[in-house]
């Protein structure tokens, strides 16, 4: 019969490392219903019996406030795993045991795994495991998930504990609240609530979720009596929860803290502190951070390695590798199908639609993968927390918390994972605001647009123009944040409280697994949408309303006619003048589906039949020439600005919708994007014209 171990612990306690060690490739990542939190399950490998493991989200407490906490506690109470394996970071025992005291209140077997015992040894500290076991009343197993120490002992202990029923116990039992606790326990028993002690403590805390439970419906009098007893023991200003939390820490200070004999006092600078003196230095911190970020982007997107002409940048080189098979496949298919006399639309669908679409996604994958890998390493090592801390000061001026920097930074690579990354922000308001701003960080797919217009219209100053576009995005984000804060998101950003875990060298396997997980989510999410989009674009630009096939991108195609109709919206922005104006409008439309499509579409519309301007040198040169005549420099700037700020690709919109879980906010966000893009384009073109450019 299968056993289920539930892994519970604080963030940064090494839970995921343990989970990966145990489950490896058997891990399956799903979703908890109703929330965007990963649900990780797997089987323990290399054991004879069938043991399932579920990795609960990292939590500091079992309160009902954050979605992670609610998910974890509902799972523990409702789905009753066979044993809770509580991973505790031994280097920060007291804070970690705060959660332990809550887990112990459940009627479930618990085994405490003291992780990072290797670090404890390194520091010269000694923990009295036997005494800790006596105090907690459950097995305490020292382990090091990173080095694979103690893991078999842990499995054995958990297996054994799973066979013995356990009744919850609370540290409040011999505290000032012992009397109200007894009364609450009686109440819980009478109301047939499971895990009597756990629910009793929740009644003491005034836990809103528990108090709303139907089984307590008729017991209001008893509950009020208990709560008034509790209030006698606390300051009028404090809540019952604070009082209980204080009692927990009092117990911990008395019974757990003394069990750790520290070689050096806590506040004395350890290795991580010494590193932080530089990395969080008031003046060097931000430059160092920007330096790391630049290095990351350079290795991922840079054309050459450190400017050395003959060596391609790793990301670009990997990207080139994927283009070879795709290009070859496309050519082979074309010749094969033409020889077989296939209908033109079949050729179009397969080569331009499917191969083109898959090619577009695949060509992006190596660089996204590198970006994810770097970010995983930075996250696992503990540096990301420092970065949030350093950037907080800058971001707070614009109404954002330091935690917003990471998703926004990722936006420079791709909006889809960046939008998914907003989950780490504390309040929904912060998350919503950040999601609106993320697409302003010019993503990788938009880069070809800047490259081509800069080369066509500003050949002497191409790099300045491209840099200017990136700056425009950042500037728009800053100004939008300031405005939106006043108008829509009136509260100030959530105060920053972030744990700075000790620096740890991430295990290669973990970083790769983390990268792989994120990559899969990206490919599935973005990949399917971009593929569908590219096929849709091909279809809409190759057929008329009466479904006759036409030359790709002609004015009679569905897309062409739509482009002509919506022209008037773009007239004041200066880039749809002249007989070819509708082409620019059509490219914006296709850009709605996938930003890579803007350049391809322009290429197809201006110079049909000579290949994809994104990939074919000849096609690119032809497009450069066409654009130089079709656009004025000012119109080009206005057009670039519109593409930068307007609705990002469908994949990003889908990600935004999924994260916000609100149709209303999705609509508002879309309006903000289009509106901002229109206004900025308008200003650029018209002020520029007035100034005589």
């Amino acid at each position: 019969m299968a056993l289920t171990f539930a892994l519970a612990g604080n963030p940064n306690c090494g839970k995921t490392t343990l989970f990966n060690e145990w489950t490896g490739s058997t891990a399956h990542v799903g979703n908890w219903p109703g929330v965007t939190i990963d649900r990780k399950e797997g089987r323990i490998r290399k054991v004879r019996d069938d043991i399932r493991v579920i990795d609960l989200p990292g939590i500091y407490s079992l309160s009902p406030y954050t979605p992670e906490e609610v998910v974890a506690r509902n799972y523990l109470v409702d789905e009753q795993p066979d044993v809770i394996v509580n991973i505790v970071d031994a280097t920060n025992l007291s804070r970690n045991v705060f959660l332990t005291t809550q887990l112990l209140e459940l009627d479930l077997p618990v085994v405490v795994a003291l992780n990072m015992t290797d670090e404890v040894r390194q520091r010269g500290d000694v923990i009295d495991y036997a005494a800790l076991r006596a105090q907690l009343g459950v097995p305490v197993i020292p382990i090091s998930a990173l080095h694979g120490e103690g893991l078999t002992d842990l499995i054995d202990a958990a297996r054994k504990a799973a066979t013995q029923k356990r009744v919850g116990k609370s540290v409040l039992a011999d505290s000032a609240l012992s009397e109200p606790l007894l009364q609450a326990e009686k109440l819980a028993q009478e109301s047939s609530l499971p895990s009597t002690v756990f629910h009793a403590v929740k009644v003491l805390e005034g836990d809103s979720l528990i108090l709303a439970d139907k089984r307590l419906a008729s017991k209001n009098a008893a509950i009020t009596a208990i709560q008034s007893t509790v209030s006698k023991h606390r300051d009028a200003k404090d809540s019952a929860e604070s009082a209980v939390a204080a009692l927990r820490y009092q117990w911990i200070s008395k019974h757990v803290q003394p069990l750790v004999r520290q070689k050096k006092p806590s506040h004395q600078a350890n290795t991580s502190d010494k590193i932080d003196r530089w990395l969080t230095h008031p003046w060097l911190g931000i430059p160092l951070f920007l330096g790391f970020m630049f290095l990351m982007f350079h290795l991922t997107f840079g054309e050459t390695l450190f400017g050395i002409e003959s060596i391609p940048g790793p990301g670009v080189w990997l990207q080139g590798l994927t283009e070879i098979p795709i290009g070859a496949l496309g050519e082979w298919l074309t010749t094969a199908l033409t020889a077989a006399g296939a209908a033109e639309w079949v050729l179009g669908l397969l080569v331009e639609g499917i191969v083109g679409g898959v090619g577009a996604i695949l060509s992006f994958v190596p660089q996204i993968m590198m970006l994810f890998l770097f970010l995983s390493i930075l996250e696992d090592s503990g540096y990301m927390a420092r970065a949030a801390y350093i950037m907080d000061r800058v971001l707070r001026r614009f109404g954002l918390s330091g935690r917003a920097f990471l998703p926004m930074l990722m936006g420079f690579g791709c909006s889809v994972p960046a939008l998914m990354g907003t989950r780490t922000l504390e309040t929904e308001k912060d998350r919503r605001l950040t999601r609106i701003l993320i697409p302003y960080m010019s993503c990788g797919a938009k880069a070809p647009i800047w490259a081509i217009f800069a080369a066509a219209l500003f050949p002497q100053n191409a790099d300045v123009v491209v840099f200017g576009i990136y700056l425009l995005g950042i500037l728009t984000a800053v100004i939008s944040a300031l405005i939106l804060k006043k108008v829509l998101f009136k509260s100030t950003a959530a105060p920053l409280i972030i744990e700075l875990p000790p620096y740890r060298l991430p295990k290669a396997k973990n970083s790769l697994l983390l990268m792989w997980e994120k990559l899969k989510e990206y490919v599935v999410r973005a990949g399917t949408i971009i593929l569908v989009s590219v096929i849709a674009i091909w279809f809409l630009s190759s057929f008329t309303w009466s479904l006759d096939m036409v030359e790709a991108g002609s004015a009679e195609s569905i897309l062409g006619t739509i482009g002509n109709v919506i022209l008037w919206v773009f007239k004041p922005l200066g880039f749809v003048n002249g007989p070819d104006g509708w082409k620019a409008a059509v490219a914006i439309l296709t850009g709605l589906l996938a930003k890579e499509a803007v350049v391809s579409t322009l290429g197809v519309l201006y110079n049909p039949g000579i290949g994809d301007a994104l990939e074919d040198e000849g096609a690119r040169s032809a497009l450069l020439a066409s654009l130089a005549t079709a656009f004025t420099p000012l119109a080009a700037l206005s057009y670039m600005a519109f593409n930068l700020l307007s609705i990002p690709c469908m994949a990003a919109v889908a990600a935004m919708r999924a994260e916000s879980r609100s149709g209303k906010w999705t609509a508002i966000t879309l309006c903000i994007w289009v509106g901002t893009a229109w206004i900025v384009s308008f200003l650029i073109f018209n002020i520029g014209t007035l100034l005589g450019f």
Partner: protein, 70 residues
């Protein structure tokens, strides 16, 4: 005195947290409450890194100003 004014490297005891319930909860969970002994370690433009129990907690300047200690 508020935490942002406490001298670095000297252990102090928290006396009061002027925070609304949501924020207070987060502070309590991390161990910050009246009676806890903390040591401000580093300051970066007013944002503060504290030693709490055996860990390091970073808080922003606004929050540091709202926590009193002696």
């Amino acid at each position: 005195m508020s935490l942002d004014k406490c001298p670095l490297g000297k252990e102090v005891t928290i006396t009061h947290c002027a925070a609304e319930p949501t924020l207070l909860r987060r502070l309590n969970t991390m161990g910050i409450m009246p009676g806890t002994r903390v040591t401000p370690l580093r300051s970066t433009h007013g944002n503060l890194v504290l030693c709490v129990y055996n860990g390091r907690l970073a808080i922003d300047k606004g929050l540091a100003q709202r926590i009193s200690a002696s």
